[in-house]
């Protein structure tokens, strides 16, 4: 997925710690990592040191960065900065092609144009060398 730089990051910042550290660092380099269990085949997100299906040690797997919008809301009231200054915006759940689902924002289109089932493509915003944050925009044909 494409990596975009931001001049100033003012959102709450993931600590990028614990079992998820490889996920956050990979996102800063443009790779979207999920976990895949070698024992039972289960795929999961967010990262943990345990397969939540069978209890084994999961492996990392690079996801395609493509998905579909599962559900969403248009946030129209949030008293907390920096979000207050960005209203309205879309918070969505994205079903990855590989199976797991993750939360994200949908950018690159009007909030009224978002719909369930919408094909989505991931991009990363680099916050630091250790942390990239995944965002989503409508997938263009062929992407």
């Amino acid at each position: 997925m494409e990596v975009r730089e931001v001049e100033t990051w003012t959102r709450p910042t993931p600590a990028g710690d614990g079992a998820g550290a490889p996920f956050w660092a990979a996102a800063a380099e443009g790779r979207l990592l999920i976990q895949h269990c070698p024992a039972c085949g289960w795929r999961q997100f967010y990262p943990r040191p345990i397969c939540i299906a069978c209890g084994a040690d999961p492996d990392w797997e690079e996801a395609s960065g493509r998905g579909r919008l599962h559900t969403f809301t248009v946030v129209r009231q949030n008293g907390a900065e920096p979000f207050r200054g960005q209203l309205p915006y879309v918070v969505a759940m994205i079903d990855l092609e590989e199976g797991p689902r993750m939360m994200g924002n949908v950018t690159g289109c009007e909030v009224d144009d978002v719909f369930i089932g919408m094909p989505m493509a991931a991009y990363a915003v680099k916050v630091s060398d250790d942390v990239g944050v995944v965002f989503w925009e409508p997938a263009t044909i062929g992407s």
Partner: protein, 388 residues
Amino acid sequence: MSDRTPVIVGVGLSDYPKAPHLDGLGHHAQALQRALADSGLAKGELDGYAGVGMGADQAPTFTEYLGIKHHRYIDGTMTGGSSFEFHIQHAAAAIRQGLCEAVAITYGSNFLSAMGRSLGTGGFLSAGQRVAGTAQYEAPYGNTLVGSYALAARRHMHEFGTTSEQLAAIAVGVREYAGLNPSAMYRDPITVDDVVGSRLIADPLHKLDCCVVSDGGGAIIVTTAERARDLRQPPVYVLGAAGSQTHWNISQMPDFTSTAAASCGPEALAQAGIRPDEIDTLQLYDSFTITVMMLIEGLGLCPKGEGGAFVAEGNLRKGGRVPLNTDGGGLSSCHPGMRGIFLLAEATRQLRGQAGEAQVPDCSIAVACGSGGWLSCIGAVVLGKDHP
């Protein structure tokens, strides 16, 4: 043989919806005083405690503050707003087992006086704040508490054709009962048009789909049917209690149209030997209109996906098949951060026949069902007027 059937014998509510003269602990204390007075039980008889707080103070602080010393049983289970339904499940087992004789469950919060109405959309995080743990997978995206429920509502609409007007019918019915409660925060009648015409907070949820933010507290005293014989109030029997969980963080919700009520609801009803159509009143966690819809579907009041039609037919209204939230609920009366204890208090009031103008006729079975977190942890309690 002593009759150790668990019963609720005392209920007390502290001052609400706005009580700037009380801090959170003060709500616990006032509610407990009122529950003790209601029951006729002496404070020294309490040898068990359950409770939870919104902040740093938790069960061991509350027992110290309230002077429940040398207790033989303590439960600080925290599942969000449904904690108190889990506390009943545990207290009932403890009473049956003989671990203790009388359990006080308390809650109190000065949320409105201390924090204003920031709970739903004020955000818990500040700009640039470093967020660790499981919350870091959601923190950068600016979701709100209302937004989490909106994600479920949107999906329910998509899968089942549920409409904003159907969700609004829930708020309208609860407001009608709030009109009968002199303490309720909002008492003027509203219409479906008022709800869907109120401003969108997080699509598809409008302002009037959301509960109030208030101050308040409650206390419940649970003991044995044996001890209840010479107490002040008719006992209310715990016929069934079960709880379960599907996720904690909203982004981990496995099915955005289904809650753990689908498992713990039938379990609690089976313990009681009650069918869903035998319930006389529902006291359900109405943090948002969608919360109620998902709970009634889980409890089996109607098939999954048919909640919209069920509420639009007026089944949950005053005079309907199974009246909902007869105290005005969280939607119109009182929601001090967590609401689960008020569900138990109102169910008890109904089963005692003490609900005045809001009394459900011939009320012998009430279900209190709490939802904690973000539709995460559900606790279902079946209460009855008659000895099982």
